[in-house]
Symmetry: C2
DNA sequence: GTCTATAGAAGGATAGAC
DNA sequence: GTCTATCCTTCTATAGAC
């Protein structure tokens, strides 16, 4: 693979990423991707054979990028509450730079659930529970957290940071009416969500 | 309009609703809708001229149906906490019968934000605040609820009930690994979310 | 109001020259 | 590796018969 190939290939991937995130798999056009990459349509096929293959490449790359960002949460030497804070700040910061990601991922997975199959190997919620539980055995006595409710808690935490972005257009317009901007709202949200969850879980 | 027209027209609308919610605007096919309605493709155009017009009809009908369901929350003669409980039970019950709705609405609005313009006339968050505040003036002293944080609270409440459905395919697969079904999870969620929010907001 | 047939356009994909 | 030209299918939409 020459240096030139690499350039073109990554330009394509970048352009494809933009278009797929904006329009979704069904709404995206190969012509549009080619234009943004500054190349010809047939060159897309030369590198990625089909639209489907190009999409899958973008999809997996995007998911990996997102998951990798949060692996460190567990490794950190932090108290339980600090981990919650750390998560919301990291997660929301990341989403701020990838606003369309939540809506894109949720939607494409719902339309084509098989995409979850590969993904499931990477998401290990029970390991997350085991790790957290081991790391904070004593601390957790101060909270209402048990194995049975853990899924409810996880979904709630994810919801609180993902939803504002998934509903970006709705939320931002409602905020506008209130005289607040989305960016300001999101900046406050890091602390709000942190406190919200901690208070909700504390005994 | 004859009785026959009405039958066909509503059969089309029902079929279109199914297909659009499953596939989205871009993924939906007029042929598919015609087949499900048990009619010919050109008859769709006879009734709704264009795919776009058919989609808009379905979209607005769906939104209205959803909004109407929750107008009664404010009218009820309930305490503040009972209203939160009432909302989560009603909302989640409704979504249980319309699982694809959250993902569909969020996505179509993000793809085409102009759809929000008409919608905004119907969503009056500041009125909601005024009404709630007037109804529970004394009660609210026991909670951390002020006008400034109201959007954060609203978005959080919406997130907690909408997100599990918006992320249906992800959530249900993760639950599967934990040995729980989605239905069971959702049934528990009504109370979980209620308690979660109340605890988080209480002083 | 409903159907058949078909126009017309768009989009994904390939062949072949350079 | 990159481009031009073009094929082939799919899809929306319309014309016209009944």
């Amino acid at each position: 693979m020459t240096e030139n190939d690499k350039q073109t290939e990554s330009r394509i991937l970048e352009a494809a990423s933009e278009v797929f995130l904006e329009k979704g798999m069904d709404g995206a056009r190969m012509q549009d991707i080619a234009d943004r990459a500054g190349i010809n349509k047939s060159l897309l096929h030369y590198y990625y054979r089909t639209k489907d293959h190009l999409f899958n490449t973008v999809f997996e790359k995007t998911v990996n990028q997102m998951l990798m960002r949060f692996a460190p949460v567990l490794d950190q030497d932090l108290t339980f509450e600090e981990k919650i804070r750390f998560f919301f700040h990291e997660h929301i910061d990341f989403l701020m730079n990838n606003r369309r990601l939540p809506s894109f991922l949720l939607n494409e997975i719902n339309r084509n659930p098989e995409r979850m199959t590969k993904l499931m190997e990477k998401i290990e919620v029970h390991k997350l529970w085991d790790t957290l539980h081991a790391q904070h055995k004593k601390e957790l006595n101060a909270y209402n957290i048990n194995r049975e409710d853990f899924p409810q808690i996880m979904v709630s935490v994810a919801a609180l940071s993902l939803f504002p972005f998934a509903g970006f257009e709705i939320v931002s317009r409602i905020l506008e009416k209130h005289g607040t901007g989305f960016d300001e709202f999101i900046e406050k949200r890091k602390d709000f969500a942190t406190q919200f969850v901690i208070k909700a879980l504390k005994k």
